[in-house]
């Protein structure tokens, strides 16, 4: 992976954390000194390398574990909040930030709210189960469904 693309990728993640939402190509251009066109081109290469996920308009859809759109997995940490792409990513946000966090979600069967406090990487509710429907070899065939 090209070092310049990694710089764009890292700036995208930093701004995502700071803003609590996906940054625009213009915002990353401002942060890196590149042009918005260069950022958009780098994003496409990063998308092809599975380093982030773009939507059909070329905007950030996922900077895993962060989601650019509201989901059933909301994570709060340090007075800020983000959406995660799935339950795995919900735990990933606290792991990536190296902080304790609270995950708000719901049981996929009954819809009852689930709140999990994660301290030092350990969830306070140990009875919950995590299910993966798609085998690992197929995760990137349709990452949105996975």
């Amino acid at each position: 992976m090209d070092p310049a693309d990694i710089e764009v990728r890292n700036a995208t993640y930093r701004r995502f954390v700071e803003l609590g939402r996906a940054p625009t190509a213009g915002e990353i251009a401002e942060a890196t000194g590149a042009t918005a066109e260069d950022v958009a081109a780098a994003w496409h290469r990063l998308h092809d390398a599975h380093a982030l996920v773009l939507d059909e308009h070329g905007e950030i859809r996922m900077a895993n574990p962060f989601s650019a759109v509201p989901t059933a997995f909301r994570v709060e940490a340090g007075g800020r909040s983000w959406f995660a792409n799935c339950a795995w990513d919900a735990f990933g946000i606290g792991a990536a930030l190296h902080v304790d966090c609270r995950i708000e979600s719901s049981c996929a069967d009954c819809g009852e709210p689930i709140t999990i406090d994660v301290r030092d990487g350990t969830p306070d509710d140990t009875n919950l189960l995590f299910h993966v429907l798609v085998p690992a070899v197929s995760w990137w065939q349709d990452i949105g469904f996975t």
Binding site: A87, A95, A108, G121, L133, W139
Partner: protein, 69 residues
């Protein structure tokens, strides 16, 4: 990649679906820490497939379902 309150809830949800893999949320937390901990590091580099497979192996997630290919 979803959460369930119990095995009963999971079984009900799976009644019309093919079952994948289920792990306790404690193991999920362990997996997430190993998988995502470096995601915001300034020195981040992409994980290779071998590195990711090694994380799954280390957590005990082995067998065909967890094979990244």
């Amino acid at each position: 990649m979803l959460l369930f309150r119990s095995e009963d809830h999971l079984d009900r949800w799976l009644s019309s679906r093919a079952k994948g893999a289920t792990i306790p949320v404690t193991k999920l937390a362990e997996l997430a820490l190993a998988w995502w901990h470096d995601r915001l590091d300034p020195s981040w580099r992409p994980h290779t497939r071998e590195q990711n497979q090694a994380i799954l192996d280390r957590i005990g997630l082995t067998g065909p379902f967890w094979n990244l290919g």
